[in-house]
C-alpha cells in the first residue's frame, strides 16, 4: 500500500511529537519531514519527493503559518494542507482556509482521530465544523465591495443550504439525503465554498486597502 507523505510544521516540541506519533501510528501515512520554523518548512517542501499533506501550525516563531500555507498552495508543492487550530479559533481557521488550507485539526485530538482526519482529507473529504460553517455564513453575508466580483463571492442557494445544514450539525451523508443530491456533490460544494472564501477574503483585503488609501485603481 502506498503511504501518503506528510510534512509536520509545529514549533512546540510536545505537540509536534504528538502529531508525528499520530501520523506514524497510522499505516497509511508516513512522516516525510518535520519542521519547527517557517524556514525549515520551506526547505523541507523544496525537496525532490512531493508531499501529499502538510500539517501546519499557525504560530511559528519566524512568521505566520498562513503565509506558509499561501506559499505552499501557490507553489503547488503540496496536495492538501491541514491547519492546526485550537478550540474556538474560527477566525484563524477561516483565514487559513482562505489562504489555501483544505482541512483543519484540533490540537487536542487523539492520535486515532488525527490519523482518520488526515486520511479523510486525502481521500477527498472537506471537513467543516458547525462553528466554522456558522462563521462562514456570517462572512458571506457581508456584501462584496466590488460589483464585478459579485458572482464569484456570493454563495449560491445550494451552497447556502449546505452551509446552513453543516452549521446545524448535520453530517454530509445526512445533508446529501435531505437535499436530495450525492455525497460527492456536497463535498465539492464545500470545496467550492472554500475557494470562494479565498476570493472573498482577497476582495475584502483589496477593498480595505482602497479604503485606507493603500491601493488605487486607474479608472
Amino acid at each position: 500500500m502506498t503511504q501518503y507523505r506528510a510534512l509536520v510544521v509545529e514549533d512546540d516540541l510536545f505537540t509536534r511529537q504528538h502529531l508525528v506519533d499520530a501520523v506514524a501510528s497510522d499505516p497509511r501515512l508516513e512522516v516525510a519531514a518535520q519542521a519547527a520554523t517557517l524556514a525549515e518548512a520551506r526547505a523541507a517542501s523544496d525537496g525532490d519527493a512531493p508531499i501529499d499533506v502538510a500539517v501546519v501550525d499557525l504560530n511559528l516563531p519566524d512568521g505566520s503559518g498562513i503565509d506558509l500555507i499561501r506559499e505552499l498552495r501557490e507553489a503547488n508543492r503540496v496536495r492538501e494542507i491541514m491547519v492546526i487550530s485550537v478550540l474556538g479559533d474560527h477566525e484563524n481557521v477561516t483565514a487559513a482556509l482562505a489562504a489555501g488550507a483544505t482541512g483543519y485539526l484540533l490540537k487536542d485530538e487523539t492520535p486515532a482521530e488525527i490519523g482518520d482526519a488526515i486520511i479523510q482529507l486525502l481521500e477527498g473529504g472537506a471537513p467543516i465544523s458547525p462553528g466554522i460553517a456558522r462563521h462562514l455564513v456570517k462572512r458571506f453575508q457581508k456584501p462584496a465591495p466590488d460589483e464585478a466580483q459579485q458572482a464569484s463571492v456570493t454563495l449560491t442557494q445550494r451552497e447556502h443550504q449546505i452551509l446552513d445544514m453543516a452549521a446545524k450539525g448535520f453530517s454530509f451523508p445526512e445533508t446529501a439525503e435531505l437535499l436530495d443530491c450525492s455525497l460527492s456533490t456536497v463535498k465539492s460544494h464545500v470545496k467550492r465554498i472554500y475557494e470562494k472564501l479565498a476570493v472573498h477574503s482577497r476582495a475584502e483585503a483589496v477593498y480595505e486597502g482602497t479604503q485606507l488609501g493603500l491601493v488605487s485603481f486607474d479608472r
Partner: protein, 619 residues
C-alpha cells in the same frame, strides 16, 4: 466704580463752566458806538387816558414796568428816549430791544422802523426774545434824535428792557447771541427733554412696577412744556390763560419731582405726597379762577417761590441720601440739583427785580445740562443692568457647564463601573464553572491516581470526561455559536465519538427555532449540561440504539430541544437515573425553562422548553 463719579462730576464742572461762559458772553454788550438807552420818559398814548397814579410824564430808568390801564382795548405805554449823536451815523444802524413784556412798535424821529408779531390780542410776547429793528438810512442825524417805543403789555403793565441803538452789525451780532442763549437753547432743551420723557415713559410702560419711571417721565414732560414760555412768543392763549397753564404745569412738575424723588430713593412718604397733590389741585383751581389780571404779577412769583421750595426739598433729600449711601452717582445728582436750584433762585430773584442781571437767565443754561444729566443717568442705569445681566448669564453658563461636566463624569464612571461589574460577574461565573466542573474532575482523577486504585481505562475515561466538560465550557463561550442549532451541531461533534464506541447513533432533526429570551453563555452552558446529562443517562441506563435530537417551538411559542431514545424507558429506571433527572430539573429551573420527562413508547422523551423572547409567542 471709578468711571461713574468722574462723569458725574464732569457734568457739574461743565455746568458751572457753561454758566460762567453765558454770563461772560452776555457781558460783552458794551460795544463801540452802541448806545444803551437806559433812561426814558413814560408818555401816555393819545388813545388812552392816563390812569391815576401812573408814571406818565415821569422820567424813569430802565428796565421799568409802566402801569397801564388793564381794561383798555389796547393796553399800551409809550417810552420816549432822546439821544444825542455826535455825528451823522455812517452805514446802517439798528435798534435792539432785548426784552419787552409784550410787543413793541418803534419810531425813530417819527419814522416807524418795522414791527414784529401780533399787536392785537393775544399780543405776541417777547419778554425773552430780542427784537431787532433796522433804522432806514438818513433817519438818524447828528444832534438830537427821538426814539419812541410803544409797548403793548398785559396784566396792567408794560415792561421794557433798556433798548440799544447802534451800528447794525454790532447789534445784529448781539441779537444773535441773545437769541441763541435765551431762545434756541431752551428750545433744544425742551426737544431733548421730550425725547427723554418719551423714552422713560416707554420704559415705564414695559416695567410698570417701577413707578419712578412714570413720575420721571411726566416730570420731564411737564418741564419741557412749561419751558415753552421761553421760546413761544406767538401765544395762542390770552395772557391769563397762558400764565395759568404754565403755572399749573410748574405746580404739577413739582409734585412729580417729589414723587420721583421718593420712589427713586425708596422713601415711603405717602401722607405728605397726598397732601402735596391736594395742595397742587387746590392751587390749580385757584389759578384757573383768578379774576383780576392785576393779581397775576403777584401770583407768578408766588408760584415760582413754591416751586423753588419744592426744589430745595428735593435737593435736600438727595443730598442726605448721597451723604448716607456714599454713592457717587447720587452725589452728582445732588450737586446738579443744587446747581439748578441756584440758577432758579437767581432767575427768580432777578424777576422780582431785586437786581439787574443784564440779559442773563441762568435757567436757560442750567436746564439743558440737567436734561442731559438725566439722559446720561438713564443710559448708565441701562448699561449697568445689561452688564449685570451679562455677568449673571456668564455665571449661569459656567455653572451649567460645570454641572454638565460633573454629570458626564458621573455617567462615565457609572458606565465604567457597570461595565467592570458585568465583566467581573462573567469572570466569576467562568471561574466557578471551571473550578467546579473540570477542576473537580481533575482533582478526583488525581485522587484516583494517587490512591493507586484505578485501572488505566478508568483513568482515561475520567480524563476524557474532564476534557469533555472543558470543551462544553469553551463551546458555551464561543461568540460565533450564537444560536441553539449551531450549539447542538457542536455538541453532536463532541458526543458522537463516544456514542459510536457504545454502538449508538444520532438521528438528527435539528431545525430552525425561535430564539429564546436572554440566551447568553451561561444559559448555553446550562442547556448543554442538561443535554449532556440526558445523553449520559441514555448511554448508561437506557440500552438504546438511536438518540433522536429535535428542535422546534411549542404551540404556545416556547422554543424547545428534545432528546428521545428508543430504550427501556424511565418507568423502570433506577435511583441513579432519578438523581440525574433531579439534577436536570434544577438546571432547567435555573434557565427559567420547563423540563418534561415522559415515556416515548418505546423509550423516553426529555424536552427542555425555553422561555420565549419578549413579543414572540404567548406567555
Amino acid at each position: 466704580m471709578p468711571r461713574r463719579p468722574r462723569l458725574g462730576w464732569l457734568l457739574v464742572v461743565a455746568a458751572v463752566a457753561a454758566l460762567a461762559a453765558a454770563g461772560r458772553g452776555l457781558a460783552g454788550e458794551a460795544a463801540p458806538q452802541v448806545h444803551v438807552l437806559s433812561h426814558a420818559t413814560v408818555i401816555a398814548t393819545p388813545s388812552q387816558a392816563a390812569p391815576p397814579g401812573s408814571s406818565v410824564g415821569r422820567r424813569v430808568s430802565l428796565p421799568y414796568s409802566a402801569t397801564i390801564a388793564p381794561r383798555a382795548q389796547h393796553p399800551q405805554a409809550l417810552y420816549r428816549f432822546d439821544i444825542g449823536l455826535e455825528a451823522s451815523p455812517t452805514g446802517l444802524w439798528g435798534i435792539l430791544l432785548p426784552g419787552v413784556e409784550g410787543n413793541a412798535v418803534v419810531r425813530v424821529n417819527g419814522v416807524a422802523v418795522g414791527r414784529h408779531g401780533r399787536l392785537r390780542p393775544p399780543v405776541s410776547v417777547y419778554w425773552n426774545q430780542p427784537l431787532y429793528f433796522s433804522v432806514p438810512e438818513g433817519v438818524l442825524t447828528a444832534g438830537r434824535n427821538r426814539v419812541e417805543v410803544s409797548v403793548a403789555g398785559y396784566f396792567g403793565r408794560a415792561v421794557l428792557q433798556p433798548p440799544r441803538i447802534g451800528p447794525a452789525i454790532a447789534l445784529q451780532e448781539q441779537a444773535r447771541r441773545l437769541q441763541w442763549l435765551n431762545v434756541t437753547l431752551p428750545l433744544i432743551a425742551s426737544a431733548l427733554a421730550l425725547i427723554i420723557a418719551a423714552l422713560v415713559g416707554l420704559l415705564w410702560l414695559r416695567r410698570r412696577h417701577h413707578a419712578m419711571y412714570l413720575w420721571l417721565s411726566v416730570a420731564i414732560l411737564l418741564w419741557a412744556l412749561q419751558n415753552a414760555s421761553y421760546f413761544v412768543h406767538d401765544r395762542p392763549l390770552a395772557p391769563e390763560q397762558w400764565e395759568a397753564t404754565i403755572a399749573t404745569l410748574r405746580l404739577w412738575l413739582l409734585v412729580c419731582m417729589v414723587l420721583f424723588t421718593h420712589r427713586f430713593l425708596g422713601l415711603r412718604r405717602r401722607r405728605p405726597e397726598r397732601a402735596l397733590s391736594a395742595c397742587a389741585a387746590a392751587g390749580t383751581l385757584v389759578l384757573w379762577s383768578l379774576p383780576a389780571p392785576s393779581a397775576w404779577p403777584h401770583v407768578l412769583p408766588a408760584i415760582g417761590a413754591i416751586v423753588l421750595i419744592g426744589g430745595v426739598y428735593v435737593t435736600a433729600v438727595f443730598v442726605r441720601a448721597a451723604w448716607r449711601q456714599h454713592s457717587a452717582g447720587l452725589r452728582a445728582l445732588a450737586a446738579l440739583g443744587a446747581l439748578m436750584l441756584a440758577a432758579g433762585t437767581f432767575d427768580w430773584l432777578a424777576r422780582l427785580g431785586l437786581f439787574d442781571p443784564g440779559q442773563l437767565k441762568l435757567m436757560t443754561v442750567a436746564a439743558p445740562l440737567m436734561v442731559l444729566a438725566v439722559g446720561w443717568l438713564m443710559i448708565e442705569g441701562f448699561v449697568q443692568a445689561l452688564r449685570d445681566s451679562e455677568a449673571l448669564n456668564r455665571d449661569l453658563e459656567s455653572r451649567i457647564a460645570t454641572k454638565h461636566a460633573e454629570l458626564e463624569a458621573n455617567y462615565d464612571s457609572l458606565r465604567q463601573l457597570e461595565h467592570e461589574r458585568t465583566l467581573s460577574a462573567e469572570r466569576e461565573r467562568i471561574m466557578r464553572d471551571v473550578h467546579d466542573g473540570m477542576g473537580g474532575q481533575l482533582v478526583s482523577t488525581l485522587a484516583m491516581v494517587e490512591s493507586g486504585r484505578c485501572e488505566r481505562d478508568e483513568l482515561a475515561e475520567a480524563l476524557r470526561r474532564a476534557l469533555d466538560d472543558m470543551r462544553l465550557v469553551i463551546d458555551s463561550l464561543d461568540p460565533t455559536v450564537d444560536d441553539i442549532p449551531t450549539l447542538l451541531g457542536t455538541f453532536r461533534g463532541r458526543l458522537e465519538p463516544r456514542l459510536k464506541r457504545s454502538g449508538l447513533g444520532f438521528r438528527w432533526k435539528v431545525r430552525d427555532m425561535p430564539a429564546p429570551a436572554d440566551f447568553g453563555p451561561e444559559q448555553s452552558l446550562g442547556l448543554m449540561r442538561i443535554l449532556q446529562e440526558a445523553v449520559s443517562n441514555v448511554l448508561e441506563h437506557a440500552g438504546a440504539s438511536v438518540i433522536t435530537v429535535a428542535t422546534g417551538a411549542t404551540a404556545e411559542g416556547w422554543p424547545y430541544v428534545e432528546i428521545v431514545d428508543d430504550g427501556i424507558g424511565i418507568a423502570t429506571g433506577s435511583a441513579e437515573r432519578g438523581n440525574g433527572i433531579a439534577a436536570m430539573r434544577r438546571r432547567a429551573h435555573a434557565l427559567g425553562a420547563a423540563l418534561r420527562v415522559e415515556p416515548a413508547h418505546p423509550g423516553t422523551r426529555i424536552c427542555v422548553e425555553l422561555p420565549p423572547a419578549a413579543g414572540l409567542g404567548a406567555a
